[in-house]
Structure formats: structure tokens, C-alpha cells
């Protein structure tokens, strides 16, 4: 299972690699990073939608996280569909509502509580 982290902030890669360094070292989690929704789509096109958990920010320049969600849901309908978790700024209730109706599997708010994220990722570990 590869976790595709989509965020326009470049430092998010370092943060995730450090936060999940134990899981990465023990190869229980695989991470891929995309700096835009387009890169995420490119990644999916290359690797296919299987065994990918997308963790995407909503507010990004160009294609937004919600656009990505819509594209993935329409481009990869076959089961099992990719698990998609959306990340937004604190308290952005309309985005939450929209993300959930557009078919997001889960929702995280910034700042990311990594313990919570780790718990949410637990079911997918080792798949």
C-alpha cells in the first residue's frame, strides 16, 4: 500500500518522512509525494489506482484537492477504488461537507495530528 501525499508545500515530504521514519524503515508504509494535483494524477496514471491511499490537501494552486477527488473517482471507478483522505484548514466546514459528498473516505484538518493520522492509517498497513 502506497500513501500518496498531495500538497503544494515542499516541506511536507520531509515532515512525513521524518514522522513516519519508523514505518518507512520497517517498510510497513510506502510514501509517494506529489506537489500538485496534476502530479498526483500523473503518478496514478503511471502506477495505477490500486493499492494507493491518497492523502490530499484541498487548497492548492491550479487543480484543487476537490478536483483531484472528482477526477480520481471518475477515472478509477473499478473496485477497490483508491482510499482518499482530504486535508483542509481548520474549521473549513463547507469543504468538509463537499469533500464527503464528493466521495472522500475521510477528512483531516490542519494542523495534522499525526497520532490521529497514524491511527487512521493503521487498517491499511501491510496491505
Amino acid at each position: 500500500m502506497t500513501i500518496l501525499v498531495v500538497d503544494d508545500e515542499l516541506d511536507i515530504k520531509d515532515l512525513f518522512q521524518q514522522r513516519f521514519r519508523r514505518e518507512i524503515r520497517s517498510q510497513t508504509l510506502h510514501f509517494a509525494f506529489a506537489h500538485s494535483a496534476q502530479q498526483a494524477m500523473d503518478y496514478l496514471n503511471q502506477h495505477g489506482g490500486k493499492d494507493v491511499l491518497i492523502l490530499s490537501d484541498i487548497n492548492m494552486p491550479g487543480m484543487s484537492g476537490l478536483d483531484l477527488l472528482r477526477r480520481v473517482r471518475s477515472d478509477y471507478p473499478l473496485p477497490p477504488p483508491p482510499v482518499i483522505m482530504m486535508i483542509t484548514a481548520y474549521g473549513d466546514a463547507p469543504s468538509y461537507q463537499q469533500a464527503m459528498t464528493e466521495g472522500a473516505n475521510d477528512f483531516l484538518s490542519k494542523p495534522i495530528d499525526f497520532e490521529q493520522l497514524r491511527a487512521k492509517l493503521q487498517p491499511f498497513v501491510g496491505q
Binding site: 515532515l15 521524518q18 481548520y90 490542519k110 494542523p111 495534522i112 499525526f114
Partner: protein, 716 residues
């Protein structure tokens, strides 16, 4: 005087009858009550037509003469030229009763008469022409008597040479026959009447002049009043007309003094009679007007008609009866009117009533005097009284009436002045009231202006706050991400240091361990500091982001009393958990039947919590400074009025100056020390109340007295 007599009944009564004797001896018993003997009607006269100067001689034989009295002279004696001329002779003797008595003789007819006694011409009435001078008729009225001095107890021959002409008014009458004048051709008077005739001849012009003058003056006055166009004009015009008629009648009377010729005398006499009759008719007509009866042409014409008819008949028939009847009728009508309308008589009207009574009284007096004696010295006064009392009474009436009118006018003027004064006062009052109203309105307008300016300032402030809030939110958003990295990297770095300590650190030589451990300890401590301050910044950003939260909790009907109470306890106990020494009085004053209101309870709760915390902070701060005995108190009360629910949170804490109060709702404004407040609480509360619930959040404060925050929420 004769003219006036014609209008009175009494004038008809006197025709004395004398005893007759062939040899005429006169005695003073033959005197009438007027001391008058009418020689013309004696039987002992002989007559011969024609003219002969010798016929006066006492010795003349008169057997061929006709036995005829002077009173029998008539139109038959006139020749073809209309001239009647002849001589009457008579022998008389005065008995001893006339001894020493001053007798007089006079003629009361228009014929020219020469009187001879014992062949000597004693006196002439008019001019017969026998003396060669032209004929002149005798003017009979207001004449003095000629002295008639006969020796008593002796016979005397009286001879009359009489010349007369046919009347120009009637072919059947001589001029002397007018009013039975022939029977008065020669009259003997005693001393009393002799004197009276003397006085009468002298005073008649004076009376006439008085009547004319007074009438003229009154008429002039009345006409002036009419043309002055003053009050009661129609009434005064009537008086003026009546008085003018009297003036003309008086002119007629006055003319008699001038001894006009027969033809003028007769015409003037009749015209005067008619005028006098009509003038008298104006009395009842005037009275009708004075008594305020509506003017009626028919009644007026009727009254005047009676007068004209009466006086015309009198003029025509030469008897006073019709005219006197008309006068009596009018007087009766006059009195009937006075009696009928006696209740209307008041004030000035009494003058007329008095005048009317005086007139009648003088008329009666005149009649009585004349009944007793034709030649009464007081007749002149009675006539004057009769003539003038009523006109003068009208003058008095007008004077009194004018006085009344002036009084009425004065009363009216006073009333007008009073009304004017009242109106002026009313106006003044109204002006005052108006001024007060204007002042009130101006004050209200000024207040409105002040309110408007305040509102404008508030609006500007609100706008500033709103844009500041948005800016804050934007800033927060931008800061959030880097801050997250700072916090996350700090945390993960701490983990990395822990890992380093457990792993590679152990493999260091012991000599290096101490120094490395010291460095790692410092790094770890720094990271903790970074984490701590990052956390502070995060909580600030979190607060700031509350401003931008567009979505809020669900609104639901909420019992504000319960909510306020619940959060008060939360705040108090939260504070007590930190500071066990703190104690404060909590007072609640809730309106019992406060309705439920649709709010987001969590948000209003946050606001309340904020206000409570501030209130507690203020009382704690004051407690530290205040002398003992200070009892920190926080009060919360609810109210409902003007379509609003209000929650008031008040404390008796430090309060705040105006300069602070002006800024409390601005984000990041705080008076607390750096670590104790973010300066966002009230700013957020303000947003929740105003933007979120459409209400208002206001603060009132007195430094050192306390602060009151009021949340006002609209019920709809």
C-alpha cells in the same frame, strides 16, 4: 293763531247770541266772556248801497234806507265789476255800566271799512278810497283795536262805509264773507280784550318767529344727522321730513305777520293747514319706527291719507272739524300704540312718551283756555308748548338714544378690546407653546444628530472591525501553514533527538558522551521552547480563524437564563480550579418569563464565558489593590423589552477609561499581560453577537466602579 285754532275742535264752539232792541242800548252785561260785543249782528242797522260822504251825517233821514245788518252783506250787493259798496247806520247808547271803561273797536273781516261816530270819522279798516287814495282791503288778523270813546248815557250815531269785492276763489262770495267775516265787520271790546289784542298783535310775530326758528333749527339738525349717515337714519329722516313740514307750516304762520293780500293769505293758510296736518301724521309713523314696528307703506300711507283728507276737507269747507277729527284720530292711534307697546318703552323712548303727553296736555290746555275765553293771554304759551314739545322730545330722544348708542358702542369697543386682548394673549401663549415646541424639536433634532453621528461612528467602527477581522483571518490563514511546520518539525525533532540518544549516542566514546549529552539536552530544551511558543502562536491563529468561520453551529430555541447560569458556573469553577483563594459573589437576576430565543448556544456560551472571565479578571485585579471590605461581585441579569432579549454582565471591578473602552472590540487589543490574553476574546464575541446573531454588544464602564457588558439579541 287763527290757523292753529282751525285744527282744534274747540274752535267751533263760540258764537255768542245777543239780545236785540230797536233803540240799541248797550250794557256791559252784553259782553261775551271775551269782553266782546258783535255790533254787526245787531238788528238796528239800516243800509243803503252806493257812496255818499254825506251819509255819515247824524241828521240824515234814513227812512228810505233798508233795514239790514252788516252781517247780511253778501254777493248780491256786488255790481258787475264785483265791487260791493254801501253804508250801514245805527244809533246806539252806552249805559252807565260802561262808565270809565276803556272800550275799543275792531273789524275782523277783509272788507275796507270807515267808521264814523256822530258824523266824524273815528277810524278806517283798510282804505275805502273815500279819501281819494286807492282802495285797500283790510287785513283782519293780529290787529289792534282802535279806541272807542263814547259818552255813556248819550245816543250816538254809528255809520259804516263798507267796500268789498267778490272773492277770487268763489263767484258766490264776497271776500268779507270768508269764515263768516261779515258778522265780525264791527266789534266792540272791553278793556281786557282791548289789551289782549294789543299784546297779541305784538307777540304773535314773536311766537311765529320762535316756532319757525325752532322748527327750522330742528329740521336742520335732523337733516344734518341724516346726512351724517349716523345711527337710526331712517327714523331721523322721518323726523326731519316731519320737522321740515312744520317749518313750512311755520313759514305760513309767519307770513300772516307780513299781512299778505287776500289771495296769498287764503292759499298760504290752506297749504299751511295741509302741511301741519301731514306733519302731525308723522308723529304716529315715527312712533311706529321708534317702537321698532316693521315699516309698512300701507299703514304710513293710511295715516298720512287721513291727515291729508282731514286738512284738505278743512281747507275746502272752511271748518276745522275734519282736520281736527284727523288730528284726534292720529292722537288716539298714537296713544293706542304707546299703550299697546308700553313694554317696549324704555330708556330714550320715555322722552318721546313724555313729549307725546306734553303735546296732548298742551292741546287740551289750549282747548280749555279757549273754551273759557277766546282772548286768553296764556294761549300763546299753550300753543307754543303744543307746537314744540313733541319735536323737542324727539330731539331729547335722539340725544338720549345717541348716549345709549355711544354707551353700547363703548361696551362693544370694550368687548372688542377685551377680545383683542384675549386673542393677543392666546397668540402669545400659542407663540410661546410654538417656541417651546420648536425648542423641543430642535433639541430632539440635535439629539437625533448626535445619535446619528454616534451611529455613524459606530458604523465606521464596525466596518473597521469587520475589515480588521477579515484581515486577521487572512493573516491567520497564511501564518497557519508555516506555523504547523514549525510545530511539527519541533515535535519530530524532539523524537529524532530521543532516537539519537537511544541509538548512535550510545556508541560514542564515554569521553564524548558528556559533552554530546549536554548539547542534546540544550537542543531538546530549545525544541520544547519552540514547541511551546509554536503552540501559543497556534492558539492565537486558532482564535483568529474563528473570525473567518463562515459556518457556525445550529441555531435552536434556547433558554438564555439557563445558558447564562450554566456558563457562569463553568467560568467561576474554572477560575477557582486555578486559584483556590479566589472568591466572589455571584448574583443572578433573571427575568422569569423570558421567552426562548433562536441562537447558537455554544457561541453565545463562548461570548458569555469571555465576558465572565473578563469580569472575574477585573474583580480579582481590584481585590489585589482595594482595601479590605471590598466584596468582589459579578452580576448577570436578563431582560426583555423593545423586541430584544438582553443579557447584562456587570462587575464591580477595576472598570476602564474611555480610551480603553474605545478599543476593546478590536482584535489583539488586550490589557492583560502577554501570556494571559490573546486580545481576541471580545473581538470574537463582538463578531458572534453582531454578525452571527444580528444583535449588539455594548460596554459601559466607570474606572474603579465597574463595567457592564450588555448583549442584546433581537427576538425575531
Amino acid at each position: 293763531m287763527k290757523t292753529l285754532v282751525a285744527f282744534l275742535l274747540v274752535s267751533l264752539c263760540l258764537t255768542p247770541c245777543l239780545a236785540q232792541d230797536t233803540t240799541l242800548t248797550l250794557t256791559n252785561r252784553m259782553f261775551s266772556s271775551d269782553q266782546l260785543i258783535n255790533l254787526s249782528t245787531m238788528r238796528d242797522w239800516v243800509f243803503k248801497a252806493g257812496q255818499n260822504p254825506g251819509w255819515a251825517s247824524p241828521a240824515l233821514n234814513t227812512t228810505s234806507w233798508t233795514k239790514r245788518r252788516p252781517s247780511d252783506l253778501s254777493i248780491k250787493d256786488a255790481d258787475k265789476t264785483g265791487r260791493a259798496e254801501g253804508w250801514f247806520r245805527c244809533r246806539i247808547r252806552l249805559d252807565s255800566t260802561f262808565e270809565g271803561m276803556q272800550l275799543g273797536v275792531f273789524s275782523y273781516c277783509w272788507a275796507a271799512v270807515d267808521l264814523y261816530v256822530d258824523g266824524r270819522l273815528i277810524t278806517s279798516f283798510g282804505n275805502t278810497g273815500a279819501n281819494g287814495r286807492p282802495y285797500a282791503e283790510h287785513y283782519p288778523y293780529y290787529q289792534k283795536a282802535a279806541p272807542f270813546d263814547l259818552t255813556t248815557g248819550q245816543d250816538h250815531l254809528i255809520a259804516l262805509h263798507v267796500v268789498d269785492y267778490v272773492s277770487p276763489f268763489s263767484k258766490n262770495q264776497l271776500k268779507a264773507q270768508l269764515e263768516g267775516g261779515t258778522s265780525k265787520i264791527i266789534r266792540i271790546v272791553g278793556p281786557k280784550t282791548f289789551n289782549w289784542l294789543h299784546v297779541n298783535a305784538r307777540l304773535s310775530p314773536v311766537y311765529s318767529a320762535i316756532w319757525l326758528t325752532v322748527s327750522f333749527l330742528l329740521a336742520t339738525l335732523f337733516w344734518l344727522l341724516v346726512f351724517q349717515n349716523l345711527y337710526e337714519r331712517s327714523l331721523i329722516r322721518l323726523l326731519a321730513i316731519g320737522e321740515t313740514l312744520l317749518v313750512f307750516a311755520s313759514i305760513g304762520l309767519m307770513m300772516e305777520v307780513l299781512e299778505p293780500a287776500f289771495i296769498y293769505e287764503v292759499i298760504v293758510y290752506r297749504i299751511s293747514g295741509v302741511l301741519l296736518g301731514v306733519a302731525i301724521a308723522f308723529l304716529p309713523i315715527t312712533l311706529l319706527r321708534v317702537l321698532n314696528y316693521p315699516s309698512s307703506r300701507r299703514i304710513d300711507s293710511f295715516i298720512i291719507g287721513i291727515s291729508v283728507l282731514g286738512s284738505s276737507l278743512t281747507a275746502y269747507t272752511n271748518t276745522g272739524l275734519p282736520s281736527s277729527l284727523a288730528t284726534v284720530l292720529q292722537f288716539l292711534f298714537f296713544f293706542a300704540l304707546l299703550i299697546w307697546a308700553r313694554k317696549k318703552i324704555k330708556g330714550a323712548l320715555w322722552a318721546i312718551v313724555t313729549g307725546a303727553f306734553l303735546t296732548i296736555a298742551f292741546a287740551l290746555g289750549y282747548a280749555i283756555l279757549q273754551l273759557s275765553s277766546f282772548f286768553n293771554p296764556h294761549l300763546g304759551y299753550a300753543a307754543t308748548g303744543f307746537f314744540l314739545s313733541l319735536p323737542l322730545s324727539f330731539l331729547v330722544y335722539i340725544a338720549l338714544r345717541f348716549k345709549e348708542i355711544v354707551a353700547e358702542d363703548r361696551a362693544k369697543a370694550v368687548a372688542v378690546v377685551q377680545i383683542t386682548e384675549e386673542k393677543r394673549q392666546l397668540l402669545a401663549t400659542q407663540n410661546q407653546r410654538l417656541e417651546q415646541q420648536v425648542e423641543t424639536r430642535t433639541a430632539q433634532l440635535n439629539q437625533s444628530l448626535i445619535d446619528l453621528r454616534a451611529t455613524q461612528a459606530q458604523l465606521i467602527q464596525k466596518e473597521k472591525l469587520a475589515s480588521l477581522g477579515e484581515l486577521t483571518a487572512g493573516v491567520a490563514h497564511e501564518i497557519q501553514n508555516p506555523l504547523n511546520f514549525v510545530n511539527n518539525f519541533a515535535e519530530v525533532s524532539t523524537e529524532l533527538i530521543d532516537e539519537l540518544k537511544e541509538g548512535p549516542f550510545q556508541k560514542l566514546p564515554d569521553s564524548e558522551k558528556g559533552y554530546a549529552d549536554e548539547i542534546l539536552g540544550d537542543l531538546s530544551s530549545n525544541l520544547q521552547k519552540i514547541n511551546h511558543h509554536g503552540g501559543r502562536a497556534s492558539s492565537i491563529v486558532k482564535g483568529m480563524l474563528e473570525h473567518s468561520r463562515t459556518e457556525s453551529g445550529e441555531r435552536r430555541p434556547t433558554d438564555l437564563n439557563a445558558l447564562a447560569d450554566e456558563y457562569l458556573k463553568i467560568a467561576y469553577h474554572g477560575l477557582r480550579a486555578k486559584d483556590k483563594d479566589f472568591n466572589a459573589d455571584l448574583k443572578t437576576n433573571f427575568m422569569t418569563d423570558l421567552g426562548r430565543i433562536e441562537v447558537v448556544p455554544q457561541e453565545i456560551g463562548r461570548v458569555l464565558l469571555n465576558l465572565y472571565n473578563n469580569a472575574f479578571y477585573a474583580v480579582i485585579k481590584k481585590q489585589k489593590l482595594a482595601p479590605s471590605g471590598y466584596q468582589p461581585t459579578v452580576t448577570v441579569s436578563t431582560h426583555q423589552f423593545n423586541g430584544q432579549l438582553q443579557i447584562r454582565v456587570s462587575d464591580n471591578g477595576t472598570g476602564m477609561p474611555e480610551s480603553v473602552k474605545a478599543k476593546i472590540f478590536q482584535p489583539f487589543f488586550t490589557t492583560k499581560p502577554t501570556s494571559e490574553g490573546t486580545g481576541l476574546g471580545l473581538s470574537l464575541s463582538y463578531d458572534i453577537v453582531t454578525k452571527g446573531h444580528g444583535g449588539t454588544l455594548t460596554a459601559e464602564s466607570e474606572p474603579n466602579q465597574g463595567t457592564v457588558f450588555t448583549i442584546a439579541l433581537p427576538l425575531t
